[in-house]
């Protein structure tokens, strides 16, 4: 029997969606209490539970050959992974937001100050448009930044927009869609592409 495929799964709300998705397709990954690894009974897949932010590092270094992560996590890590499949849940949007009624910045009045947890994607977006930008990195609750006067703009993931609305903000520009993907370390993919395609087929299976 071949060694199981190894996969890093992100802790948190995405983990439940992933585990349910796999279970519906016959791959049962049950993490015992406080256990950070689990193997499905068929021996096809071995999973590690890791912090979302750390997931790219585990896959990049080949500790886990595969991983499930959003485009935002991958883009911020700076690593390159083989894109195996796109999952039908967890999608969201990266948006530029500001107090209601604010215009989209064009940089004519000098550098634009933006607060965000998504530094790389924000820098790249503004640079591609030739707009000078000053970025203030925050680790969470970025909606507070315009309210308290730290920065007039924020870049954040937006699902319903209700948190923005509650703080007097609105989306002024959609920057990109974010999808959740099954990813592979490129070298791992090259040596295990048959088994990984099998897993991808299972994950894409329609169970309705």
């Amino acid at each position: 029997m071949n060694a199981p495929l190894t996969i890093a799964l992100p802790k948190g709300r995405l983990l439940d969606s992933v585990a349910t998705h796999l279970e519906q397709r016959g791959l049962n990954l049950t993490f015992e209490k406080r256990q950070l690894s689990a193997q499905d009974p068929t021996g096809f897949l071995k999973a590690y539970k890791v912090k979302n932010h750390d997931l790219p590092a585990y896959v990049h270094h080949g500790i886990a050959g595969l991983g499930i992560a959003g485009d935002d996590t991958v883009a911020e890590s700076g690593h390159t992974f083989t894109r195996v499949a796109t999952l039908p849940f967890g999608g969201t949007r990266l948006c530029l937001a500001a107090p209601v009624g604010t215009a989209v910045p064009d940089g004519r009045n000098g550098p634009v100050t933006v607060a965000t947890s998504y530094v790389r994607m924000t820098r790249e977006w503004f640079h591609q448009r030739g707009i000078p930008v000053k970025i203030i990195r925050l680790d969470g609750s970025v909606e507070l930044a315009p309210v308290l006067g730290l920065a007039p703009y924020i870049v954040d993931l937006v699902e319903t927009g209700s948190t923005l609305k509650a703080n007097g903000l609105e989306v002024i520009q959609d920057m990109r869609t974010i999808q959740v993907r099954l990813l592979a370390n490129p070298a791992y993919f090259k040596l295990h592409y048959r088994e990984i395609r099998q897993l991808s087929d299972i994950m894409n299976m329609n169970v309705d």
């Binding site: 894109r83 070298a187 993919f189 040596l191």
Partner: protein, 371 residues
């Protein structure tokens, strides 16, 4: 140790040093590699550690430029540390053209320095060994380089490994001069079928889905031989350049299987070689346990003309520090050292000399075991 001394032990991110047994295993593998190259008639070449940046700038893509270490010399000229031995070697080939007719076979074992992401374990300084065959065009040259690499990896006693063979000529034929090859290479790197389709659609090329499917082909040589005609037909039946490039790869792969076992070879058209100067076949080697390719190479028939008289060339380089921990050959390096016998220094010296003549490694330290 004082706090001041401890401060001196700080090391810049990206540097590494290795000592004693580890360094010995490194040398052991390097020596075997060099012996292998010599046994195929290759001669060593040493390239400068730094050179003028302007010399190489037109040959670097944006990422390579970003990763290179540059600094001004005392006269203000911009210099670049050696980031790719093939590039530096190509210039040396232009500086010192051959005195005799016929192909030149060169090898190197040296370090390169280029920036990697800060969390990358492998550091910014890599040890590369590789070989270049200059002046030998066509399939025989391709096969020589591929089998030189194949046999060397075989000797290293690695876990499961494979050579992934691609073709820059196929990529260029599919791009048809209409696609930004840097963008396409980035999409091929992550095997993004949707992104490739969109790129082909934007350029107005016909059959974008089939073009993407062809470039993402990954399978055995037999699978490629049986599917290649259909893949080309679906893609663009009248593209003779593409048909010719596919036919060349089929011939190369078929011939390769007469010398190498089929389980070692995969046809992988997403392999663009990683360097913008490739023109013909491309190859990367993957081994179980390494988080990236351990070797890469290909044919680059136009590179040398950037520095002087043009000549067809092909070669490969290997990331030795990625190979060492996986190589049973390296692990088998005998690092035993014995102590000399004798009461006085002169006795121990004489005894050590005698043992060394029998091939032993001997110190003058009497406390060590004797063989």
């Amino acid at each position: 140790m004082t706090p001041d001394n401890r401060q001196r032990l700080r090391t810049p991110q990206g540097t590494e040093a290795f000592f004693q047994e580890e360094a010995w295993r490194h040398r052991h593998l390097q020596r075997m590699t060099e012996d292998h190259f010599r046994s195929w008639g290759y001669l060593p070449v040493l390239t400068p550690v730094f050179d003028y940046f302007e010399t190489y700038r037109p040959l670097l893509n944006a990422l390579q430029e970003e990763r290179s270490y540059r600094f001004p010399d005392r006269k203000g000229e911009l210099l670049m540390l050696r980031s790719d031995i093939t590039l530096f070697l190509a210039k040396q080939a232009g500086v010192a053209p051959p005195e005799t007719e016929g192909p030149r076979r060169l090898y190197y074992s040296d370090s390169i320095i280029r920036h990697q992401e800060e969390e990358d374990i492998s550091s910014d300084e890599f040890f590369q060994s590789g070989a270049e065959l200059i002046g030998q065009p066509g399939q025989d040259g391709d096969l020589e380089v591929l089998m030189l690499l194949h046999d060397l990896l075989e000797s290293m006693k690695l876990p499961t490994w494979r050579l992934h063979l691609g073709s820059r000529a196929i990529l260029d034929a599919v791009f048809d001069g209409a696609v930004d090859s840097q963008k396409a290479s980035a999409l091929l790197e992550i095997r993004d079928e949707e992104g490739l389709c969109a790129l082909f659609q934007d350029t107005g090329l016909p059959a974008p889905e089939h073009r993407s499917r062809l470039l993402l082909f990954l399978g055995t040589v037999d699978e490629f031989l049986s599917e290649s005609s259909r893949l080309v037909e679906d893609c663009q039946p009248q593209n003779h350049r593409l048909a010719e490039a596919v036919s060349q790869l089929c011939n190369l792969a078929t011939e390769l299987l007469t010398c190498a076992p089929s389980e070692r070879i995969r046809i992988d058209l997403s392999e663009h070689g990683g360097q913008p100067y490739y023109t013909g076949f491309t190859v990367r080697a993957y081994v179980d346990g390494a988080n990236a390719a351990i070797a890469s190479g290909g044919r680059y028939d136009n590179l040398l003309s950037s520095f002087g008289p043009g000549a067809p060339a092909a070669g490969f380089s290997m990331m030795m520090r990625k190979i060492e921990p996986l190589s049973t050959f390296a692990a088998e390096a005998d690092d035993s050292v014995f102590g000399a016998q004798g009461k006085s220094f002169a006795e121990r010296y004489a005894n050590a000399q005698q043992q060394r003549l029998q091939g032993q490694r001997v110190t003058l330290d009497s406390s060590k075991d004797s063989p």
